[in-house]
Symmetry: C2
Subunit: 432 residues, 2 copies
């Protein structure tokens, strides 16, 4: 994926930052426009941007001309202002204008990721005329893929509908395209790009048109781009769920310093939150000195609470990510999770009884441990079924409710439940 063999030269593109000026010029010559553009589409946009930073501007502009507009824009967005302006300056004016339009939209909007240069037809065109126009459009843009649809617009440029390319193939040349018009799902340009991508995927669309407030067609989001965006979003969610910030670059290219920066913040936040377990335990120091066997079960009890909660939040965050559940489902979810939690509590209390008996801690501590594990399972079920949906409601990405966060929340509160139950059940603690 990241090495290019051109002629006899093998270049490891990950080493590109270390090339001498002469080597970079040489690389620019080796990356002729056909091979080079092919290469840029197979590597990720971040690495592609580094290639364009390393080679001379005219060679880079030539390569960008061969890419489709959304990908060229993705790469340009990753470059500094001056390199971006020189590359755009070295391209044909029309093409540069199209790219500047895409680049002018906010990065998280669907418009910043759309294919802007879409063929439109009048509703009065016949199938034969449509085919002629498609041929002319494609001949002008040898490197822009023709989409799965052509779009039909009225005299006010408002989008009327779309005609599938395959419908044109299946229809006689003298019929008007207006007969073939499919209604289309559209989105506004400032729609969040991940939301737009999920709309396209959920509706199994080939393309999603972007229209302005007057209904005019600005461009289309393609299925390939939508799938790539959804994949990236799933990766970011997975990383948040693991308790770190999203890396934003492929793992193998992330340096230890970058990994450190993405991870240390959450580790310290969780450490600070977990630190109060020390305070809780110090408060119950006398209880532990009186019945030291209580300490044996601390990791087991809080671990079970964390595991129970993690199972729930992971399922809920994924169900939210794929649009299966919403805030209005909270009562149904909490009921379902507390019912499940009750069944799990019974099973885990039985397991805890076996374990306490094998450790030989006596009936009073055994009872305490069994009651505690049941109570912690119920508590973890409640917290973890409510928290992700509440966060979503207040516009925080629910994927930040990671396994480590749930474990941290349940650890301290679980310990308080433990010692409170111990006070009720252990005669040794009666006087404390």
């Amino acid at each position: 994926m990241s090495s290019a063999e051109i002629g006899k030269t093998v270049v490891d593109l990950r080493q590109i930052a270390g090339l001498s000026a002469a080597d970079r010029r040489h690389l620019g010559e080796l990356l002729d426009t056909a091979n080079g553009a092919e290469l840029l589409t197979t590597i990720d946009d971040d690495l592609a941007a580094r290639v364009l930073k390393a080679i001379p501007v005219p060679a880079g502009a030539g390569l960008l001309n061969e890419l489709d507009a959304p990908q060229a824009a993705e790469i340009l967005r990753r470059l500094g202002d001056s390199r971006r302006d020189s590359l755009l300056g070295a391209m044909a004016i029309d093409r540069a204008q199209v790219l500047r339009t895409v680049l002018s939209w906010p990065e998280d909007s669907v418009a910043a990721h759309m294919q802007p240069d879409v063929l439109t037809l009048a509703p009065t065109a016949t199938v034969g005329e449509a085919v002629d126009q498609i041929r002319a459009h494609a001949a002008d843009r040898p490197h822009d893929p023709t989409g799965a649809y052509v779009y039909v617009v009225g005299s006010d440029k408002a989008l009327l509908g779309a005609v599938r390319l395959r419908s044109l193939v299946l229809t006689a040349a003298d019929r008007p395209v207006a007969e073939l018009l499919d209604a289309v799902v559209t989105v506004a340009p400032l729609t969040d790009v991940e939301e737009a991508a999920m709309t396209l995927i959920d509706h199994k669309l080939d393309e999603l048109p972007v229209v302005d407030a007057e209904g005019r067609l600005l461009g289309v989001l393609t299925e390939d781009d939508a799938v790539e965006i959804a994949e990236e979003e799933a990766t970011e969610d997975a990383e948040r769920q693991g308790g770190s910030e999203p890396l934003e670059v492929p793992y193998l290219r992330a340096s230890p310093w970058l990994l450190w920066r993405k991870r240390i913040v959450w580790l310290l936040v969780l450490f600070a939150a977990e630190a109060y377990t020390g305070t809780v335990l110090r408060a119950f120091e006398e209880e532990m000195e009186a019945v030291v066997a209580l300490a044996f079960f601390i990791p087991l009890l809080i671990g079970t609470g964390g595991n129970t909660g993690t199972q729930i939040t992971t399922t809920l965050v994924r169900a939210m990510g794929t649009g299966q559940i919403r805030f209005r489902d909270v009562p149904a979810i909490v009921t379902k999770e507390l019912s499940t939690g009750a069944l799990i509590a019974i099973a885990m209390a039985a397991a805890a009884m076996v374990r306490a008996w094998t450790l030989g801690v006596g009936p009073a501590v055994t009872l305490t441990v069994c009651l505690t594990v049941a109570a912690i399972v119920m508590w973890a079920s409640l917290v973890s079924s409510v928290l992700p949906l509440v966060l979503k409601k207040v516009k925080v990405d629910p994927a930040v409710v990671s396994a480590p966060m749930i474990a941290t929340i349940v650890d301290g509160t679980g310990l308080m439940i433990y010692f409170w139950i111990a006070h009720l059940t252990l005669p040794q603690l009666a006087g404390l």
Copy 2:
């Protein structure tokens, strides 16, 4: 998504199992083939199978006729043998034969999810003849979508290549299709369906042809189906990462009993594994009695180890799921993670020092806690960077290395590290 409004009747399809026989017949009548098929494509396959189980066989066969072959096969696969055979018996023989072929492949193979009824052309056909054949093919199959490609096969039926539908639109009618031939990426029928879906997505293909050992075309995997398969796989991975078995049905339809079954196995396995923390702590009972302050830090230390490990495994499992890393990368990964771990260990030791100081436990325990947190971070980094790749190597889904599993592994071993370091640094423990 799951309620159907037909005429004046609103049916909550989740309640379908509870309908009376008369209501089911009525539902079968309401679901006329046009509305009904539209409905079946919007609900998930599991619910669609329950609808087909509830309504009379002829109505069900009529609905299945309107769906594309891969989806019809998905739904039939979810029915019992007798209902499946009656539905296939009530369909046109050709169509039933096509579906039986798809159903005969193992469920996890790409062939079980392909579109089997693909138009093929001879290489000598002209563009005009190709368009005529496409029209005839589409006229015979009003409900099967025409694909993005037509395929060209030799006299031995071996696949020679594919012609994009859009190329046919762009080319004069008298040119031979052989001039428009694109080389294609193909897969064998028994290829794992998730692997095939990722191949299609990574190469940004519209369709992926499935060919047998002689190179004959058996069918194609479509982009829509590949995206759906990849989404389902990502959901299963997320659920495994959260420490439970995949649900396999949409969350809101999972009963507490189903949730219990999917979750309790891992909870009990993890409980049994975590149980040895009790043995470890009992073994160090005297140390805890001598220096009870050691117990204050147990949740904090093992929690930090679990968090560090979870960050790493989540990132690695996702990177493996998207094909970014392989077993041969183990040395690079371990080096990277131990370097990152060293940086994290320094920061966390500093945080631990602050915390121990605020709890007022004295310099010796503070030193023990700082050294332990650093050692646990390094240990967690090592375990969690190696484990997912080793599991993948021995053909276990690395997604089972969940946050709870890493936490469990690190908890017990982390406690041993803690008390071992305590022995070295605490004079009170010298004699024990």
